[in-house]
């Protein structure tokens, strides 16, 4: 089972390595991890996507809570939340495929952020399903490179 865990940490030197070291040291899996500042500059926010059964997830959350620099841990599966991920995709776009590429991008509301004679780079944002669907449709055209941010998530009011 996949889980999205939101972790508030002290914005201090070495905290990311404590968190990632915890996962690797105990054999827990990290699928994606993203880190950024919050409204309070002394606090950072991490969003971690992980997988494992209930027992493992319970351990992950307890172990995270135990880290001295961790302020708060929330398993978003227990809440209503919105998740988003951004992806940059560079596709082959020789003249005969340019129109097709743009048409697919349009459906997914992807933006062209760079173009050359033979390629487009799209920026697309959405949940995992949307990103996967977009990538699948572009595949026949020929994807040169993909860069993804990893998920971020926020609870609903």
């Amino acid at each position: 089972m996949k889980h999205i865990i939101s972790v508030l940490v002290e914005n201090k030197f070495g905290v990311l390595s404590r968190v990632s070291g915890l996962f690797s040291g105990r054999g827990f899996n990290i699928e994606t991890i993203s880190v950024g500042p919050t409204l309070d500059p002394t606090v950072s926010q991490m969003t971690i996507v992980t997988s494992g059964d209930e027992r493992i997830l319970e351990q992950i959350i307890k172990q995270l809570n135990k880290l001295i620099d961790v302020i708060k841990v929330a398993d978003l599966a227990e809440k209503e939340f919105v998740e988003r991920e951004m992806c940059l995709i560079k596709v082959n776009a020789p003249s005969e495929q340019r129109a097709e590429a743009l048409r697919i991008a349009d459906i997914f509301r992807a933006r062209v952020v760079d173009s050359s004679q033979k390629s487009y780079t799209f920026q697309v944002t959405g949940d995992e399903k949307k990103l996967e669907a977009f990538i699948e449709l572009l595949r026949p055209i020929g994807i040169k490179e993909i860069v993804r941010t990893g998920k971020v998530a926020i609870t609903r009011e």
Partner: protein, 579 residues
């Protein structure tokens, strides 16, 4: 506050005084010279120079385990820092409060592969409770305060503070915070009253309960509360290697140790119980044996200050997170309200346990010709009146020390349980002796283990720390040899130490006392002689080379599937069944 500026080295000293540190185990080097210079002029803190940094930190650990106070050590950067990693990991695995200061290259050089630079923060991240690189002398006092606070509260553990040279030499105003509050660190102290009530109800309803205590009872100072619980409800108590002394070993309700080398009756009681009250213990694999076969009919109450210990290895029915002592005070209060005829309820269970006790008491083959190690431990118990602090190394001798000496109080037994560090014994015993100059402190060591930190005998002589070392000398890495005999077709690969040094001469070379016993009749005289000595003593007991530790739960078996010394055939049959 005056605005007087003092150096980081002076701030360091002032902080230690504020923390009431009376002993510092310290080894110098380039980047910490400024601190040593400051230490030279003061009289408040006793500085002890070990012969190896690992020894120094084990001393701090022994000091901490025997007192409950935080042990403190200081070493230099690079090799000084990497030398302490094993000792820090030892303290980490057993939740021992120590603060270790390491020197570091100047902040401007960090990351440059400077001379004697090691990323000790990175290296020790997984084996410390917390570690801090101090980047500015202005933060130094606050960081030291945090280090002592974190090391000693909640589930205790080692904290490392890395001090770059410029932080030590630069100046700042000294201001030591009285109190400290960390928004990200708030250990739970009191247990949830609903959970405690549930635990009390479960205890009242149980027919075959067992109390199972671990090191948490010692750390939280809860021995009296455990005793009250056991005596009130007439529940027998078993302990882990770390829980030794958490309940009197001579008490009629004591089952002794459980697990791999536990007593038959402790393991049978756990296996057949309908309720386990686990207190400050963590269901280590050396205790549970095969987890799927562990106590199949028991409900489990688990009291621990660390929520991650709960449900890590076994299912738990009633978890109670909180400081063990606090929780037990509340639990005992609840139980005193329960009006059960405890004696009558417990009669048949205690009778059953006594039958197990008679079936397989802790015993060994006595001998007139050759010294049995268990005999040495028994005699040591006699000679010391059960009143010495016993420190051990790791191996067979450690198990015999656990089985055949009776510990009636906490902090009389110091042993590396979690990491199982050979070489712990001598330096940890010295740390304990420094803290308890009026108590007898014995290290029970093996001939292999003692050689891992033997150099500390020099420190003991130099600083007049008269520890007494019992070497149970089998010229083998005995515990490993035992596994080879039982599980590797007697193929003794790399376990025969062959010639061990002459420990008597070696002791004398260091200026200590060396004694030897080769026959059973010499055991008692040697021990008595050692008791009289005002100097450190090495006692070389030439023991039966082939003696094994029994009972034993083979790795992978359930804890009721024990093997015994007197039944070799049964051993082989059981082993087949396990495979």
């Amino acid at each position: 506050m005056s605005s007087k500026q003092i150096t980081g080295a002076e701030i360091f000293l002032e902080c230690l005084k504020k923390e009431k540190v009376d002993t510092l185990f310290c080894y110098p080097g380039g980047v910490v010279l400024k601190i040593f210079d400051v230490l030279f002029d003061q009289k408040d803190i006793r500085c002890i120079l070990p012969r190896h940094e690992q020894g120094g930190v084990h001393m701090a650990d022994g000091y901490a385990r025997s007192t409950g106070k935080t042990g403190v050590a200081l070493v230099t950067s690079g090799p000084g820092a990497t030398n302490v990693v094993t000792a820090i990991a030892t303290a980490y695995m057993d939740s021992i409060p120590i603060v270790v200061f390491t020197g570091q290259v100047p902040t401007a050089l960090i990351g440059n592969d400077a001379f004697q630079e090691a990323d000790i923060i990175g290296i020790t991240r997984p084996c410390t409770k917390y570690n801090i690189l101090v980047k500015d002398v202005k933060d130094l006092a606050q960081c030291i305060k945090e280090a002592f606070y974190i090391a000693s509260t909640g589930r205790p553990g080692p904290v490392l503070v890395d001090l770059p040279r410029d932080v030590v030499t630069n100046k700042a105003e000294f201001h030591y915070p009285d109190k400290i509050k960390l928004r990200s660190y708030n250990p739970t102290v009191t247990g949830n009253p609903r959970q405690i009530k549930q635990a009390a109800d479960a205890i009242a309803a149980a027919k075959k309960p067992v109390v199972y205590i671990g090191g948490g009872v010692i750390l939280s100072g809860a021995a009296d509360e455990v005793r009250e619980l056991a005596e009130l409800t007439k529940i027998p108590v078993t302990h882990t290697l770390m829980g030794i002394g958490g309940f009197p070993g001579t008490h009629p309700l004591s089952l002794g140790m459980l697990g791999m080398h536990g007593t038959y009756y402790a393991n049978m009681a756990i296996h057949n119980s309908d309720l386990i009250i686990a207190i400050g213990a963590r269901f280590d694999d050396r205790v549970t044996g095969k987890v799927e076969g562990f106590a199949p009919d028991a409900k489990i109450i688990h009291i621990d200050v660390d929520p991650t210990s709960i449900r890590k290895n076994v299912r738990v029915d009633i978890p109670v997170v909180g400081d063990v002592k606090h929780v037990l005070v509340d639990l005992n209060k609840e139980l005193r309200l329960v009006k059960e005829p405890w004696d009558a309820i417990r009669k048949s269970w205690l009778k059953q346990i006594n039958e197990w006790r008679e079936e397989h008491p802790l015993d060994y083959d006595h001998s007139e010709e050759v010294i049995k190690p268990q005999f040495v431990v028994e005699k040591l118990y006699e000679v010391t009146g059960g009143d010495a602090i016993i420190v051990t190394d790791v191996g067979q001798h450690q198990m015999w020390a656990a089985q055949f000496y009776k510990y009636d109080r906490p902090r009389m037994w110091l042993s590396s349980g979690g990491l199982g560090t050979m070489g712990y014994g001598l330096p940890a015993a010295m740390g304990a002796k420094v803290a308890h100059p009026d108590k007898e402190v014995f290290s029970i060591s093996g001939d292999g283990s003692i050689q891992m930190n033997i150099q500390e005998l020099g420190t003991a002589v130099e600083n007049n720390i008269p520890v007494k070392v019992v070497i149970l000398n089998n010229r083998y890495l005995g515990m490993v040899r035992q596994w080879q005999e039982l599980f590797y077709a007697e193929r003794y690969s790399s376990t025969d130490l062959g010639s061990t040094p002459d420990f008597v001469k070696l002791a004398e070379a260091y200026g200590a006392v060396g004694l030897r016993a080769e026959k059973p009749s010499e055991v008692l005289p040697v021990l008595k002689e050692a008791m009289k000595s005002k100097k450190p003593v090495f006692m070389d007991f030439v023991i039966d080379r082939y003696e094994k530790v029994f009972p034993m739960v083979p790795a992978g078996a359930a804890i009721n599937e024990m093997i015994f010394g007197e039944e070799k055939k049964k051993v082989e049959k059981k082993l087949k069944a396990v495979k």
